[in-house]
Each structure stands twice: as C-alpha cells, then as structure tokens.
Symmetry: C2
Amino acid sequence: MTSPESEQKKSFPTTVIALAILLVVALLTCVPYLVSIALAQGPTAANALPIFGVTIPVNYKQWELIAPAEEAAPVDELRAVVGNQAASEAYQDGKLPFPDGTILVKRAWKRTQSPDFASATVPGAATTIQVMVKDSRKYAATGGWGFGRFMDGKPVDEAQHRTCFACHEARARSHDYVFTRLAP
Amino acid sequence: MTSPESEQKKSFPTTVIALAILLVVALLTCVPYLVSIALAQGPTAANALPIFGVTIPVNYKQWELIAPAEEAAPVDELRAVVGNQAASEAYQDGKLPFPDGTILVKRAWKRTQSPDFASATVPGAATTIQVMVKDSRKYAATGGWGFGRFMDGKPVDEAQHRTCFACHEARARSHDYVFTRLAP
C-alpha cells in the first residue's frame, strides 16, 4: 500500500539533496567574494587588539595627512595622524561627531637629528601605531570609538587599552574625543 | 567625360568632410578629459614661480606622507613632506634618481603648544609651502629639479629661488638632491 505519507517520505530525500546542492553552489559562488573581503580587512585575528578588536588598517600609509605633531622628552617623538576617506572628509567639512567608518591612525617615530642640517629633526625608528575606529553601536560604551595601540605590529596588553578612553573623554570630549585637529 | 581623376576630385570633399566630422567628434570626446587634466594641474600662470615656473599642485593635501620633520628655533616649525604617486612609488622602491614627473611638497607650520597636552606640540599657522618638480630636461641645469617656495600662496622672489639648488647640491647630492627620506 502506498499512502500519501510514504510518498512524502520517499520524495523528502530528493528535495533535501537538491537543496543541499543549491546551498553548496551558492556557498562556492560566494567564496571569491568572502576571500576578497577577508584580504581587504587584512589583519588576522591574532593581531586584533584586546577589548576593542581593532586592527592596523592595511593601507594606512597611503591615507591623507591630518596633522603632524611632536611629543617632548622622555617620549621624544615625531608623530603624524593620517585618516581614511571618511576621516578626511569629516575634517575638511568640520563635521562633528565623526561618522561611523572613520578611522584615524597615529604614526610615531623617535626624534632624530638630521645628518644634513643641524636645525632639523627627522623620523628615527618607528615606535607605536595608534588607531581609533568609529562605530557608534559597537563602541557605544567608549564614545563610539574603539582604540588600538600597537608596538612592532603587535597589540599592547589589555590594561593599556583600558586607559585610552578615560583620557580622551577627560580632555577631548568637545571634539568627539579626538585630540588631533586638521593642520591648516 | 568622366575620367578617374575627376571622380577622385568629386569624392575628395566628401572624404574630407567625413574626416573633419570624425575629428570634431574625437576632439569633443576628449574635452572632459582635457578639462580634468587642466583642473588637476590647476595653478594659474599668475602664481607660477620665478625662474622655474613651478606652481603649487592643486591636490597636494591628498598626497601620501613621506615624512614629518621639525625645524628648531628661530624658524621653529613642524613640517611634513608629501609626494605625488611617482614620488611615493620611487620612495617605496628605493629608486634613485627620482623619475621625471616626481613632485614633492613640503608643508610647514609654526610650532604651537597643544592646548590639551603639556608634552605635545602641534601645527599652528601655516607658513611656507616648498615644491620640487623633477623634469630632467627642463631643469637640467639644477640637477633635474625645479624649485618653488610660496608664502601665503604667493611665490617668493627670484633671489630666494636662486639659492635653492646650491644648498640641495651641497648637502643632498647622493640622494638625488632631496633631503627627505621615507619615514619607516
């Protein structure tokens, strides 16, 4: 006897197989796209920072200069803040708060006497890289900013990262917690 | 009587007209491109510099950072050299001499105490903009470089421009007359 129920049981595996094949094809189609996203975001999870999960943007050396700066001894550094497209547009338009997607990177080097000019100081060895990423939902507890601090390409420890926001909050609240102003 | 020669004469204007139309279409097609080139090169002849005819590149604030620097008192400035695509590629590849088309711009600001941090010095008012343009034929007499120095967007006088190359030649000959090294 063939009841409708047993027919359903027979046809069930065929449908499942068809759906599974469709799913596999769809997933395989996505692979190149997913790989490109992974490569574009670049840094591996191993280099992601404690607390905020912030990483060093792959192409930050090509970003626009926001402003150079200098840090006195004992830190004794030359610095330069660069920003991604969202950052530089917000700076140019004087737009506050910075929009989600803004990324700022502070590069830093030991101050070194120029070999060519007695009056000139130039970058020596690179020291730290500091990153601020704006995501008002993800980082709601820290003014919308995720913070990352790296030495030799490796994130510093969690304790150091817990100090970032308190200082930015105390001193730069009126400028969306960002110290750096656009160099004229 | 219709000789092959007279037929050729008759058909000649038609060919010319067709070619002329083609030429006009081709030229019109190029207009947006030519306009964009003109706008990209930007500066008017009125702002061109004495001797070298160098101008301030329109989009230099979007160029890649080569290195920041600091100039001691009495000049007392923070500085940053940025470069166009040709410049940054040459720096990244460590290629010397720099290729024709290289443009370097040195931005400069008065050193100013940060209002937020006692240890930090930040850019104050912008002072000079200094430009180096590589064209090994046009500037053959000065190491292949044209020099431009601007204050408040206006070129300084000819006498000042006559001093540029002598100093670059005396101190930076081994680096294609360029002082600035790529910040690591």
